[in-house]
Subunit: 199 residues, 2 copies
């Protein structure tokens, strides 16, 4: 398989983290998340949103959206539950991640650390921080009495939400007030096959 | 089952549309999408994001996120493919909907028609229209050569994207330039068991 990738992107990191865990080998093509002028040329027809990650299967078909790729690679392994309700809970947390978490925490990190333009985005950063803290508080409430997001084991929901949560500091978020989230981050990082974002 | 619902919400409409198709009976509790002051009281502990739709199962468990609810109700029916790649494609389009489509087209409709405050949001509406037209153009490209979003039959990906697309005009989007999208909207509305958003 071939992954259209970015070393900086948390969405791409999710896929690399899952592949490392499952022992899946994959070639990587690096795309810039800053200069996107080649996106139509490289990803046109492969991904409706022209984003990384995009996965090319060995038979030449393509799949887009980080969380759909996680599901495709993990369904049938112990990282996706068999129980129908737990499967839907995994999807619940992955949709939460794309709607409430990444657009706040990931975008604040993008403006602040990747582009280095926090001052230029100062007007919008407040709303991103407010939304991001709401998402972190929802995770903290949920994880206060649980080791993992769904059921009693590590799933792709944990991989999904680990990516941008563990880098939240790069978006200006202080995790000091979220002890259950911090303990969960350590549990995820202790899983067999764990790799860092720069691996 | 019991659905925490809003008659105005496209995300809630997805669930009602699927239930009508599958012949699932469900009680509904109406929540306001304008005055959200009761959300913590009503949905606290049931939905991390305090949003509608939230589904209460007969055994008292709760599920959040419209697209996770669609998956839960439809998995095992002919509205979710059996093929692993097609299953992931259904999820790809549902994640696209929550990231690129609803935050632009749904939010523009919310500001313009539900709140009636287009003038107050004029500064941000331009970006919503630009993002929404990108999403519609991606759908148009994809549907130009296909009857349905995934495979060769109607799936929950079509239900998911129908909801806000068919109301895009309420957000100020003219669908005249998207003939394949308009033909697809008619195909969806012709499906057995179809109900309108105000049903």
């Amino acid at each position: 398989m071939l992954l259209y990738d970015s070393r900086l992107s948390g969405n791409c990191y999710k896929v690399r983290l899952l592949m490392a865990r499952l022992g899946i080998a994959c070639e990587r093509i690096e795309l810039s998340v800053v200069d996107r002028s080649d996106r139509e040329e490289v990803l046109g027809g492969l991904n409706p949103a022209l984003r990384v990650p995009t996965l090319e299967l060995d038979d030449g078909r393509h799949l887009a959206e980080s969380n759909a790729i996680l599901w495709y690679l993990a369904e049938g392994t112990d990282l996706v539950p068999d129980d129908p309700f737990e499967r839907a809970q995994v999807l619940q947390w992955m949709f939460f991640e794309q709607y409430d978490h990444e657009p706040n925490i990931g975008v604040a990190r993008y403006w602040t650390t990747i582009l280095g333009r926090a001052a230029q985005h100062a007007g919008d950063l407040g709303a991103k921080h407010e939304g991001g803290h709401k998402a972190l508080a929802a995770m903290e409430d949920h994880l206060a009495a649980r080791a993992w997001l769904v059921g009693e084991r590590f799933t792709i929901a944990d991989i999904c939400l680990y990516a941008y949560t563990h880098m939240a500091g790069e978006g200006g978020f202080d995790l000091a007030g979220y002890p259950a989230v911090r303990a969960w981050l350590e549990r995820v990082a202790s899983q067999p096959g764990h790799v860092t974002i720069d691996a």
